[in-house]
């Protein structure tokens, strides 16, 4: 159901600064909306996003209801060696998704 879009260059030169773009499909329900009957729609958001490279954390974000639906986060990193990026999204109601992307550095 949930799906991630990851954009990582497949190849890079050692020392290059590369941009990583991530998008996770998620409703990001704020918890501040009401139904027509006046009931609050319970909060359902992604609260945490982490990116690890070869097991080492390189980027982390705490997300709040003010992040738009389908959270899109981009950041940068230095290509040091070939390896694998692991992405993890954690949220309300036991939401947990992972994705990964490989890069070869020459």
């Amino acid at each position: 159901m949930a799906s991630a879009l990851i954009n990582v260059p497949k190849k890079a030169k050692r020392g290059d600064v590369i941009e990583i773009k991530t998008l996770m499909s998620h409703i990001m329900e704020t918890g501040y909306r009401h139904t027509a009957a006046g009931q609050v729609v319970p909060r359902d958001i992604i609260t945490s996003f982490t990116c690890r490279f070869n097991g080492e954390e390189i980027f982390r974000a705490d997300l709040f209801p003010a992040i738009a639906a389908n959270p899109f986060v981009t950041f940068f990193t230095v290509a040091t060696e070939s390896g694998k990026f692991d992405f993890e999204w954690i949220g309300d109601n036991g939401f947990s998704e992972t994705a990964s992307a490989a890069i070869s550095v020459e």
Partner: protein
């Protein structure tokens, strides 16, 4: 009789005054309908502590006029060499009038290469956005931007 009334009033005002002073520190549990300058200030306090926040070094790219507050692209970039001993530790974004003062916290490291992040945010009203960067030397730098929103993100909308 009059005198005792006067002293009660004085005492009440005194108490109210000190309560207001303490009130600047967050009253947790009381969820406000909208974040205010005070809640934003206290949210910033919890991040920066007692450190002073200086203006500069941070750039906040956000459209000044937004048609749809449901998804507003935002980029925060920090001027930093991003070396092992001089880098951006984290970037924090706050708003004034959404139901919550926090927008997001982003933690970077020396190997990020560039102190920059982008995301898409929601804005419930025309308001001020503040981005604060924490550098590795412990200093805080900030920038703010005013955004006018024509269609607010749905906080009150019936669905």
């Amino acid at each position: 009789m009059r005198k005792s009334e006067g002293s009660t009033r004085r005492r009440f005002l005194g108490l109210a005054g000190s309560a207001a002073a303490i009130g600047a520190i967050p009253v947790v549990g009381l969820r406000p309908a909208a974040a205010t300058q005070e809640t934003m200030a206290s949210a910033i306090r919890t991040v920066v502590g007692t450190a002073t926040v200086q203006t500069g070094k941070v750039k906040l790219d956000i459209p000044p006029l937004v048609e749809n507050g449901n998804t507003v692209p935002m980029t925060v970039s920090v001027t930093s060499p991003m070396t092992a001993d001089d880098y951006v530790k984290s970037i924090h974004v706050f708003n004034e009038k959404n139901p919550q003062p926090n927008v997001g916290n982003f933690y970077l490291g020396p190997r990020a290469g560039r102190g920059q992040i982008s995301t898409r945010i929601r804005l419930a009203d025309s308001q001020k956005i503040i981005a604060i960067a924490r550098l590795s030397d412990g200093s805080f730098w900030s920038v703010s931007a005013e955004v006018v929103v024509t269609l607010a993100a749905c906080t009150e909308e019936l669905i």
